[in-house]
C-alpha cells in the first residue's frame, strides 16, 4: 500500500548536547591517544621515538586539561558536578566516566610532572627570575623512577577514556546513528588521526624536523587507513543488512542530500591527507595535519550534532547540525582559545624539548635544560 504522510503540526526538539560536548569528545580523544603514543618512549625506553613522544606528551597534557572544562560547560547544572561522585549510578556509562576522567587527568599530569621533574630541578638550581617556581615544581628532588608506573597507570586510564566515551554514546538505542558497535572503534581511530594532526602542525611550528614530520605522516597514513577501513566496513554491513543496527543507522539519514554531502566530505577528509602523507611524507605536514584535525573534529560534530538533528519520532531533520548563537560558537572558540593559551604557556615555561625517559638514579649534575624564559 502506497502511503504519503505530510506532517502538519509537530514539535522541533533542540539538541541537549551542545557543541561543548563535541569539543570535549574531540579533545579527550586527542589527549588519550596522544598519551598512548608518548608511552613507548617514556615508559618502554624507545629513545628513537623521543622527538615524537615529546610532542605527544605536550598535546596530551594541554588537551587533557581543556577537555574536562568543555565537559563541565556542557552540564546545565555545572555546580552540581560533585553529585557524580556522591550518587554514582553504576548502570550509567557517564557515571563511570565521571570517575575515569579525573583519574586520567590526575595520572596524566602526575606522569608529565614526573617526566619533567629532573629539568624542573635543574632550572630551580640556576640563578634566574623564576628559579623559585621551578624549585617548588620539583618538590625538592629530581628522582623520577616512579614515572614509568605513573605512565602505565595513565595509559590504562587513557584506554578507559576511549572505552567509556565510545560506549557511552554507542549504547543509546534511541539514536540509530549512535547505536552502532563500530562507533567506539571509530572514535578511537579518529582520535589518533586528530592527535597526529595536532602533532604534525606543532612539529611544523616548533621543530621543523623533516625526519619527525615523515615519521608522523607515516603514522597518519596508518591511522587514516584504519579510519577508512572502519568506514568501509560500516557502510558494507549497513548496506548488506548483516548488522541491523548499522542498517538502521544508515536508514536514519539516507535520502537527505545534506548527509550525502557530509559522507562525500568525510571521505575526502580521509583520502586527501592519506594520499598526501603517503606520496610526500615530507613538506606536507601543514596540509596533512590541518586536514587530519579537521577530519577528527568533523567526525564528532557529525555524529553528535548531526545525530541530534535526526528526529526520533517526527519527520524531516532538526537544525541541530547547524547551531548558532552563544552556545554554538563560544563552545568551539572558547575551548580552542583555552587550549592555545595552555599550549603557549607549556612551550614557554616547560622544558618540553628536554624530556627523557625516567631513570632510577640521577647524576648529581644534570644536563642543562633549554630554558625558554
Amino acid at each position: 500500500m502506497q502511503v504519503q504522510v505530510h506532517e502538519l503540526v509537530g514539535a522541533v526538539h533542540e539538541a541537549a548536547w551542545l557543541p561543548w560536548a563535541v569539543q570535549y569528545f574531540f579533545l579527550i580523544a586527542i589527549s588519550s591517544t596522544a598519551l598512548l603514543m608518548a608511552l613507548p618512549a617514556f615508559v618502554l625506553g624507545r629513545t628513537g621515538d623521543l622527538p615524537k613522544a615529546r610532542l605527544a606528551l605536550m598535546v596530551a597534557v594541554t588537551t587533557g586539561i581543556v577537555a574536562p572544562v568543555a565537559l563541565l560547560a556542557d552540564l546545565h547544572q555545572p555546580f552540581r558536578f560533585w553529585e557524580f561522585f556522591v550518587y554514582t549510578h553504576t548502570t550509567s556509562w557517564m557515571a563511570w566516566g565521571a570517575w575515569i576522567v579525573p583519574s586520567y587527568v590526575a595520572l596524566l599530569l602526575a606522569f608529565a610532572w614526573a617526566i619533567h621533574r629532573p629539568a624542573f630541578y635543574a632550572m630551580g638550581q640556576e640563578n634566574w627570575r623564576f628559579a623559585w617556581l621551578f624549585r617548588l615544581l620539583a618538590l625538592k628532588g629530581e628522582a623520577n623512577g616512579f614515572a614509568r608506573l605513573l605512565g602505565l597507570g595513565a595509559g590504562l586510564a587513557a584506554l578507559g577514556i576511549l572505552l567509556y566515551t565510545g560506549t557511552e554514546v554507542a549504547v543509546v538505542r534511541a539514536r540509530p546513528l549512535w547505536n552502532t558497535p563500530l562507533l567506539p572503534l571509530q572514535f578511537a581511530a579518529t582520535g589518533f588521526v586528530g592527535a597526529l594532526g595536532v602533532m604534525l602542525v606543532l612539529e611544523r611550528v616548533l621543530n621543523r624536523d623533516g625526519a619527525l614530520e615523515e615519521s608522523l605522516n607515516r603514522g597518519l597514513v596508518f591511522a587514516l587507513a584504519v579510519v577508512g577501513g572502519l568506514g568501509i566496513i560500516w557502510f558494507t554491513v549497513a548496506r548488506s543488512g548483516l548488522s541491523p543496527a548499522h542498517t538502521q543507522a544508515l536508514a536514519s539519514v539516507a535520502g537527505f542530500p545534506i548527509w550525502k554531502q557530509i559522507a562525500a566530505w568525510g571521505a575526502l577528509a580521509i583520502v586527501v591527507p592519506f594520499v598526501l602523507a603517503l606520496v610526500a611524507p615530507r613538506n606536507t605536514g601543514w596540509a596533512t595535519g590541518l586536514i587530519a584535525i579537521h577530519a577528527a573534529w568533523m567526525f564528532r560534530w557529525t555524529v553528535f550534532m548531526g545525530g541530534q538533528a535526526v528526529p526520533k519520532v517526527g519527520s524531516g531533520l532538526y537544525d541541530a547540525l547547524l547551531p548558532s548563537g552563544f552556545d554554538g560558537l563560544m563552545g568551539v572558540i572558547g575551548t580552542f582559545g583555552l587550549w592555545i593559551f595552555l599550549l603557549i604557556a607549556y612551550t614557554t615555561f616547560f622544558p618540553w624539548a628536554d624530556a627523557t625517559p625516567p631513570v632510577g638514579r640521577r647524576p648529581t649534575t644534570p644536563a642543562h635544560p633549554a630554558r625558554s624564559v
Binding site: 504519503q4 505530510h6 547544572q77 531533520l317
Partner: protein, 250 residues
Amino acid sequence: MDTTRRGFLGAIGKVTIGAAASVAGASQVAEAAQTDTPTAVPHWGMVVDLRKCIGCQACTVACIMENDVPQDAFRTHVSVYELVKDGQDPAMVMLPRLCNHCDDPPCLPVCPVEATFKIDSGEVLVDASKCVGCGYCVQACPYDARFINHETQVADKCTFCFHRTQAGLLPACVETCVGGARNFGDLNDPESEVSKMLAHNEVSVLRPEMHTNPNVYYIGLDDVLDGRVAGEAAYHSEMADSVSSHEEGL
C-alpha cells in the same frame, strides 16, 4: 479539602456528559488514592482513543498552564498528519505524544546520578534537586519526550501530573480533553475504564521495537505513525530544505 474535591469530582462524574471519560477516570484516581492497603497500589496508564482526538491542542495548553512548561518546549503535544493512502482522499490523523512512563524506561539506567526514577505506581519522575542537566536521559528517550528546561536547567518531562493524581485528580491533559480521547486510570484494576478499553479494543504502542513496555496505549494508531514518521515535515530546517520527503530507507 482533598476529600471534598474527590467527592465533588465523583458527584460531577455522575451527571456530566461532555467530560464523561475524564471524570470516570477521576473517580478511579480518587478511589486508588483513598485506598492505603499495600496491595492496592495503582499502576497508572493512559489509553488514547485516536478516533476521538480532534487535534484541538487543549491538552497541550492545559499541560503548559498546569506545569509551567517554558515556551520553547512541550511535555505533551498533538502531532497532526495528513495521510494519503493509495491516492485516496487525504485523512487527517492526530497523535497525542507524551512520556510513555515505560516499565523498562531507557532514560533510567543512563542517569549518572539516579535523578530519574520510577515509583511503584508507574510514573517515571525526575528529582529536579538532584539532576545535573547532563541531557543523557534526553538522548536515551526513544519518544523525544524529555527536554532540558531552560528555566530550571534540569531534565523535564510529563509526570502524569503526579501532583494532581496524589490529590485524587486527573492529569491536566485528561481533564481538559474535549473529545474524551485521553483516558487515565489504574491498569492493575480490571474494572477501571482504561483496563476495559485495553480488553475490548485493539491497541498499539509507539516504537514497539524498543521493548520499553510503555504505559501509554493508542486505539486506532496507524502503523506508519508508530515510529519515526517518514514523510514531509511540518518544519523545514535549513539542511532539509532541498528534501521534499524522507522515505526512511536505503
